[in-house]
């Protein structure tokens, strides 16, 4: 069977057990753990219909929303944290935190990676800061920046920046000295060496950190929204939890999964373009 076939089987098996597993509980309680209770984990069918409702794709009465009658717009206006707005807000804050985190981590990593002196001076601080679990700072950040978007961006920035910093730093440190010497002898200034040799060779290291950085950025935003927010998917989860609606939480979780996948796929494409020389390189080496 092809890979895709196996993957489809796994997904179907998983969804089936989730959907119908609990029905067996009445007959054979020992075979089905209590955790399967739809009260906790909901069911695929319920999650789907909740998704349609939260997304204003189907009304509470059960018929499908007609686009032309303006029902969709009215439905959206009814909730100030409707699904689409929540997705938009969470994604925007994630991207902002990610971009600022990557940019500042990259620059800091390059500077310390290129300067032995600066890296010696800053080393203890970096180690100390890095040993703080960044998420522990989220409440402090909410307190300082309020419950608006800024606090989410900062939380997400702080979890991303170290990751990218360390990778860039290692990358800048491990640049082949022959390449640096060659560039110098061909007339490159210090800055030109950094731009044309250090940056491209560190790029592989930087990209290795970007996929985890996307997940981290998303985690940062969601935790921020848990603690205090007006909009966003994290807020949606908290609201559903308060109402004891497992399906609502699961919708949010699935949406996060999709958002994360989309962002990661974007990074992959950028990577395979920027590191196209490496594909050939590796193909050649193996």
């Amino acid at each position: 069977m092809p890979t895709l076939g196996w993957q489809a089987v796994i997904v179907l098996a998983f969804l089936s057990i989730w959907q119908w597993g609990w029905s067996l509980h009445a007959f054979a309680p020992w075979a089905v753990p209590d955790l399967f209770d739809p009260y906790f984990v909901s069911k695929p069918s319920e999650i789907w219909s909740t998704f349609l409702q939260l997304g204003c794709l189907r009304t509470d009465e059960g018929h499908y929303v007609s686009w032309t009658s303006g029902e969709f717009g009215q439905c959206l206006a009814r909730s100030d944290n409707n699904l689409w707005l929540a997705i938009g807000v969470t994604m925007r804050n994630t991207v902002l935190g990610f971009v600022t985190g990557v940019a500042s981590g990259f620059v800091a990593g390059l500077i310390l990676g290129r300067s032995r002196r600066l890296s010696t001076i800053f080393n203890p601080f970096v180690v100390a800061l890095n040993s703080i679990p960044r998420i522990a700072l989220a409440p402090v950040i909410i307190l300082a920046f309020g419950i608006g978007d800024a606090s989410k961006v900062v939380t997400s920035w702080i979890v991303v920046v170290f990751l990218v910093f360390f990778n860039t730093y290692e990358g800048a440190r491990s640049v082949n000295t022959d390449h640096i010497n060659a560039a110098r002898l061909l007339g490159a200034s210090e800055w030109q060496v950094t731009r044309t040799v250090v940056m491209p060779s560190a790029m592989a290291w930087v990209f290795a950190s970007l996929s985890p950085a996307v997940s981290f950025a998303l985690i940062g935003v969601i935790v921020g929204e848990f603690i205090g927010a007006e909009h966003g998917i994290g807020r949606l989860i908290i609201e559903s939890e308060a109402r004891g609606e497992a399906a609502g939480m699961m919708v949010a979780v699935f949406v996060l999964m999709i958002v994360g996948t989309v962002l990661t796929a974007g990074i992959r494409r950028l990577q395979s373009y920027l590191l196209r020389w490496q594909d050939q390189h590796q193909a050649d080496a193996t």
Binding site: H179, A182, G187, Q192, T196, V197, W277, Q280, D284
Partner: protein
């Protein structure tokens, strides 16, 4: 043989002046004297080889001249100016033994690198790069990344990356050391053609006597560590040379065996230490 042209050579301007050069390394508390009291000159347009066994300090001397290494004692002047370690001397090109092409740049972009740094307009740069690619027979590989090239092609690209900004003094550290015999002979032809047209001043490091004889006007023989100059040989073969045909001649065989004995002694000494 060594008459008119050698006489003329003596009057030519000296481009590289090495005077009492010494270099020692600190290695785990031990002091290693790599090079000791080396003095020589390379005159304008002259092709000089530094020949010696492994570890005799040839690369060390070359790297000092290239400002990649500071010297311990002595004095080096390029075009009458003392060199400053760490500050590259304009007009000097360097070709490495190890492959130092930038793997993230295509062949054309590697070759155009120095021109790009100097801010040459794109159109002019393209033209110069295309000409360089043509000269070493790399047409069709402009957009290939170095990983896809054979060793010989990589070394051609390396050579042109250095030559494209037309340095008048060329330092080469066993540039063909990693190539197989046939590719190496090809590269000798490529290099000789370029040199015969442009007459750069070349200082060429090798431990391959045949290579030194094929290419050079003069061979400076280094002794085993600490590297010192043991002997200097003029290579009087007529130019332009054909690397393959030259090896069949009697005068080549004679000079080869003469230097071979001297070199052999150093190899044995080098092994003993």
């Amino acid at each position: 043989m060594a008459n008119g042209s050698a006489q003329f050579a003596m009057t030519r301007l000296s481009r590289v002046d090495v005077e009492g050069l010494g270099k020692s390394f600190q290695l785990g508390g031990r002091r290693i004297e790599a090079v000791k009291d080396v003095s020589f000159q390379v005159r304008d347009g002259e092709f000089v080889s530094l020949l010696g066994p492994s570890g005799s300090g040839k690369s060390t001397v070359l790297n000092i001249i290239a400002t990649l290494l500071p010297m311990s004692t002595g004095r080096v002047e390029v075009d009458g100016q003392p060199i400053i370690s760490g500050k590259t001397t304009p007009n000097v090109g360097y070709v490495f033994q190890r492959d130092t092409l930038f793997p993230w740049r295509t062949v054309a972009k590697n070759i155009g690198y120095a021109l790009e740094l100097s801010g040459m307009p794109t159109a002019e740069r393209r033209e110069r790069v295309a000409a360089a690619i043509e000269r070493v027979g790399l047409r069709g590989f402009e957009d290939a990344y170095p990983a896809l090239l054979s060793g010989g092609m990589r070394q051609r690209a390396s050579l042109m990356r250095t030559l494209v900004k037309e340095p008048q003094i060329l330092l080469m550290d066993e540039p063909f050391g990693a190539l197989d015999t046939h590719t190496k002979l090809d590269m000798h032809d490529v290099l000789l053609k370029i040199w015969e047209r442009e007459k750069q001043t070349v200082l060429f490091v090798t431990h391959d006597l045949g290579e030194a004889l094929t290419l050079s006007d003069r061979i400076i023989l280094f002794s085993a560590r600490p590297g010192q100059i043991k002997e200097t040989f003029e290579v009087p073969f007529a130019r332009p040379r054909d690397g393959v045909a030259l090896r069949e001649t009697a005068e080549y065989a004679e000079l080869f065996s003469h230097i071979w004995h001297s070199l052999g002694e150093e190899f044995i000494k080098g092994r003993a230490t």
